[in-house]
Amino acid sequence: MIEVQDVCFNYADEGNLLQNISFSAAPGDVVCLLGPNGAGKTTLLRCLLDINKPSQGKILVNGNDVKTMRPKEKAKFVAYVPQNTTAVFSYLVIEVVIMGRTPHLQRMTTPSNRDREIAEKALAQLEITHLAHRHFDELSGGERQMVLIARALAQQAQILIMDEPTASLDYGNQVRILKLVRMLAGQGYTIIMSSHFPDHAFLSANQVLMMQKGVVLERGHPEQVVTTENLTHLYASAIQVVEVTPQTHSNKPMKVCVPMIEQEAEGVFQAAQKTAAFQVRPLGSAMTDREGNEC
């Protein structure tokens, strides 16, 4: 269980990069952060990981304030799946996964055979045991993402923070990661992820935070929040949410987002802007972090 209460964040001399963010997620929940570049998705995820320290508000993990938790304790509850690891040395896959055991190690020791078994089990669970003795830096993007998820599983934390888990993956790998996210949620993990694809919210999430300029515009179930009007406003381009019925046994309808590239869509866009259900509060102009990345 993770609760975010009224969190604000800013670097020393700049305006708020996050403003009054609140939400909570229980075991089995998948929270998807949507928003344009610079909306504050990554900044928020970094706050949840205690890398960024909120200037205001609280983040509670199982009722404990992360600010007061020791790094090791916190790591037993919250695991991080980065977009891509920043490792420069050539580690074996199994070595990368075993690193996930770090919060469970006694001081001055290295992982035991039991830790190794847990890491191997994590690889087996994701069906990537065959990668164990490959070099991590020689893997494809999809394989790397799976290994980093395996590392988070080996960490045995119930809350997984995933920063754009589908970024720069091919279509098949994106689908595989989304299936995996649903499977993990089914096992009781809480997953908080960011995405640039609103479709992914329909496919995997049960809670969506729509963020813009550090503010949560809309929060709720994807069915209610991911709408033509909200998307069009959020991304400042004409996007329609349409219902389709794929040929399955149940014939259950699905929603998909379609960007309107044709000229005629311009009219829809303007209409949607007029009827937008919310107003963006103007904030400080600088919405990029120090390196100029999106945050």
Partner: protein
């Protein structure tokens, strides 16, 4: 099957390196002007260890115990300290081009030693000033990175570059002012690095600092290993980043300063050996540290052996480490072609 293999393979490599070091250790006693037979070396070492009655000449004992043993001990200590510091720094800065001198310890120690020589201090004080100079320089780098930079590793490295440049300039000033007939050559030789002046007392002075620092690094070897994937990820896996970084910097600085203070500036070992170790056992720091220590001490012993046997006059070790090390490195680079970097 595979996992048993990798585990025992690493152990085998470690044991063979240790045996190799042992061989080089004993072989080093045979090198030099005064010939001592191998069995005599064993006899003297065993005899002294077990207090057996003396059945060798006094001059033999002097050569083995007073001349060669301190030098061999010093080579082992300095070699392992430089390699250990290098491998720890490379993991900390996540850059395989980093050497122990990155935060200015060598430049600072060089300045301290040169100042001692210009002031005509005794050898003991010159070593003390070299040690202090190294620590002060790293302290300055750390201060610059923390108070003027943004406390990141990058600003720390920049601080190190600035401090190194500054102390190099100070060394030049001292060289310019030094008496060209005796002090200037002394400074120049010291900066080339060498073990010819080392006494048993120096070695014993340097040993505690190095041993404590090494043990501390060994205690946090897993944390340093995890830090190799980057600060954010290591933090999310429960590593106290600042704490571990601090310990590594303090330990590596102590080790390097102690090594430099007895041997002068021996370059290249702290850069070359970590690479060779990584070629041998991969990127895992827990394996890398002991392997680098063994290889570093063996390498410096070997080079020191060459330095006192190849020519009538002794060639400074600091020159040979590069002359022999560089081609070796290129050869290994061509042979392996694997991305151990």
């Amino acid at each position: 099957m595979l996992k048993i293999n990798t585990y025992s393979q690493d152990t085998i490599k470690l044991i063979s390196l240790f045996l190799l070091l042992l061989v080089i250790f004993f072989a080093s006693f045979l090198i030099g002007r005064y010939p001592v037979a191998p069995d005599m070396v064993f006899a003297i070492l065993w005899g002294k260890l077990l207090h057996l009655p003396q059945h060798w000449t006094n001059s033999m004992e002097t050569v083995v115990l007073k001349v060669r043993l301190p030098r061999i001990m010093a080579a082992i200590l300095v070699g392992s300290a430089l390699s250990g510091a290098g491998v720890a720094y490379q993991n900390l800065f996540r850059n395989s081009l980093v050497s122990p001198a990155i935060l200015g310890v060598s430049a600072g120690a060089g300045f301290g030693a040169a100042l001692g020589m210009v002031l005509q201090c005794s050898w003991f004080w010159i070593q003390g000033m070299a040690f202090a100079g190294g620590l002060i320089a790293v302290g300055c780098s750390f201060g610059i990175g923390t108070f003027f930079g943004n406390k990141s590793i990058t600003s720390l490295v920049l601080g190190g570059m600035v401090v190194s440049a500054l102390f190099q300039a100070f060394i030049s000033v001292l060289k310019y002012m030094a008496d060209p007939s005796d002090t200037l050559p002394a400074i120049t030789f010291w900066l080339m690095g060498g073990l010819s002046k080392v006494t048993m007392q120096d070695t014993l002075w340097a040993m505690p600092a190095m041993t404590i620092a090494l043990l501390a690094l060994y205690a946090i070897r897993w944390e340093i290993h995890v830090l190799g994937v980057g600060e954010d990820e290591a933090h999310s896996m429960g590593i106290n980043i600042r704490f571990i970084q601090g310990i590594v910097i303090v330990c590596a600085t102590l080790m390097t300063a102690a090594a430099v203070s007895i041997s002068g500036i021996i370059g290249w070992v702290g850069l070359l050996i970590p690479h060779m170790a990584r070629m041998l056992v991969g990127a895992k720091f827990t394996q890398l540290l002991p392997v680098a220590l063994l290889m570093g001490s063996g390498y410096l012993l070997l080079i020191d052996g060459v330095s006192r046997s190849i020519a009538a006059v002794e060639i400074p070790v600091g020159i040979l480490t590069a002359i022999i090390g560089a081609p070796c490195f290129v050869f290994l680079l061509a042979r392996s072609r694997r991305t151990w970097l």
